[in-house]
């Protein structure tokens, strides 16, 4: 096998390797998109689009991604912000379909999107705060502040804010 065949093999193997890594983080990615968009169909679209963009970037980086999980989650979060802006509609997705009144998630869907995402990354995904910041595209201090304030608001459901 020459270099050409090796390169072609690398291309094919690259896709396999990439998909293997994507499938390993698909669950948290989809859940993060659901948390940010409060819409399961759109969350699927966001993850799909983010994956295609990630694949292009992955090729450019030749697979040299040190923390794939955080890197991929940050791309999903970025895509959610983009789609959220593009699909902006009066009131936005209320999340009532996801969390009916009285359910465990009711207070969460009433939080701001950024706060909700920060809580999700920190408490549900158990990411370190610097990775939470990386995923959300903010500073570590800001991510910490979001988590702290969101926690406070959950303790005072009457003051919970609209999304």
């Amino acid at each position: 096998m020459g270099d050409d065949t090796t390169a072609n093999d690398d291309l094919l193997m690259g896709r396999d390797a990439f998909m293997t890594r994507v499938e390993a983080v698909l669950d948290p990615s989809y859940r993060l998109a659901t948390v940010m968009l409060l819409d399961r169909e759109r969350a699927e679209d966001a993850v799909h689009e983010a994956t295609l963009g990630a694949w292009r970037q992955y090729r450019r980086l030749r697979g040299n991604v040190t923390n794939f999980r955080t890197w991929f989650l940050s791309r999903v979060a970025r895509e959610c912000r983009r789609l959220r802006w593009r699909w902006r509609r009066p009131g936005g997705a209320s999340g009532q379909e996801l969390a009916p009144a009285g359910s465990a998630g009711e207070a969460l869907v009433r939080l701001r999107r950024g706060s909700r995402a920060a809580l999700f990354c920190f408490f549900y995904l158990d990411l370190p705060m610097d990775e939470v910041a990386h995923v959300l595209g903010v500073s570590t201090a800001r991510a910490r502040l979001r988590v702290h304030r969101a926690g406070e608001r959950l303790d005072r459901p009457a003051e919970a804010e609209e999304p």
Binding site: M1, G2, D3, D4, T5, A7, N8, D9, D10, L11, L12, M13, R15, D16, F18, M19, V22, E23, L26, D27, Y30, R31, T34, V35, L38, E44, V47, H48, T51, L52, W55, G95, L98, A99, S103, A104, G105, E106, A107, L108, V109, L119, F120, F123, Y124, G151, L154, D155
Partner: protein, 275 residues
């Protein structure tokens, strides 16, 4: 601490309630998009085609050199070259003897391309009419060339199919079978009809892919009937899997040439059907 614990549990319960695991269709959708996306050709694999300007420059220089060899009077200056070029006589036998590889061979050299389109030629060269589709060199130089009848290969060790997929690439459509062991013995045969026994696939021609010492029972987890709307590959169906023989049938738009080769890690049989 108890408050933190309480928040932690409440948050986790809340998120568990409003989210759920992704549907299997999402992974399949992503996989299809990634594999069916026309990948840009790997840069190291293709020789860069000289730009037209470079070809023209080589042509001019070659003709100029030939003219100088013919007679120094022809080349009297750069300005005269342009006006003289249309009137340059055909290089005589002497020039042909001195420069056996001059411009016609350079210009008429077809680019190694998987597409069977006729190669453009600035200098008309008499070519015999070719009735059957001429096999075009593979896009990767070390790959086997395209064949238009039969191909075979693989090893003698038994192996199990794990997955298969289809994809559209630039200039060819690809069908890949993946194994959890070495690629077993395979035989491919092109046929003029998409009918395989009692089964008729989409398209107007077919490619029979038979694997010996192979099985997919309990290991194969992908679709058994792909229906891609590619240029050439219209359907790929698992026809049979019994007694150590697996047969795949490909429905093609035309009886196109193909080549098959093996890749490792994981072991795959790759079949490229020329567009």
């Amino acid at each position: 601490v108890s408050s933190d614990r309480s928040i932690h549990d409440r948050v986790r319960d809340g998120f568990a309630a409003i989210t759920h695991a992704p549907r299997p269709e999402l992974a399949q959708r992503i996989r299809d998009s990634i594999w069916n996306r026309v990948a840009p050709p790997p840069q190291p694999l293709l020789l860069p085609l000289p730009p037209p300007v470079l070809i023209a420059a080589v042509l001019v220089l070659t003709l100029l050199t030939a003219a100088i060899w013919e007679g120094p009077a022809i080349a009297s200056g750069a300005g005269a070259i342009g006006s003289r070029l249309p009137h340059l006589p055909t290089p005589g036998p002497a020039a042909a003897r001195k420069h056996p590889t001059t411009s016609p061979s350079i210009v008429a050299t077809p680019r190694p391309s998987p597409s069977p389109s006729p190669s453009p030629s600035a200098v008309p060269t008499p070519t015999p009419p070719a009735t059957p589709p001429a096999p075009v060199p593979a896009p990767v130089s070390n790959l086997p060339g395209y064949v238009c009848a039969e191909a075979s290969g693989g090893g003698t060790m038994p192996s199990a199919m794990t997955t298969a997929r289809v994809g559209a690439q630039a200039g060819f459509d690809r069908f890949v079978i993946q194994f959890n062991g070495p690629v077993p013995q395979y035989a491919l045969r092109l046929q003029a009809s998409p009918t395989f026994g009692t089964t008729t696939l989409r398209g107007s021609a077919g490619l029979d892919v038979v694997l010996h010492n192979a099985s997919g029972a309990g290991t194969y987890g992908a679709s058994q009937d792909f229906l891609p709307a590619f240029t050439e590959l219209r359907e790929a169906r698992l026809l049979s899997d019994s007694q150590g023989t697996v047969e795949w049938a490909l429905g093609l738009a035309h009886a196109s040439c193909f080549h098959a080769f093996v890749l490792d890690g994981p072991a795959r049989l790759v079949v490229d059907v020329q567009d």
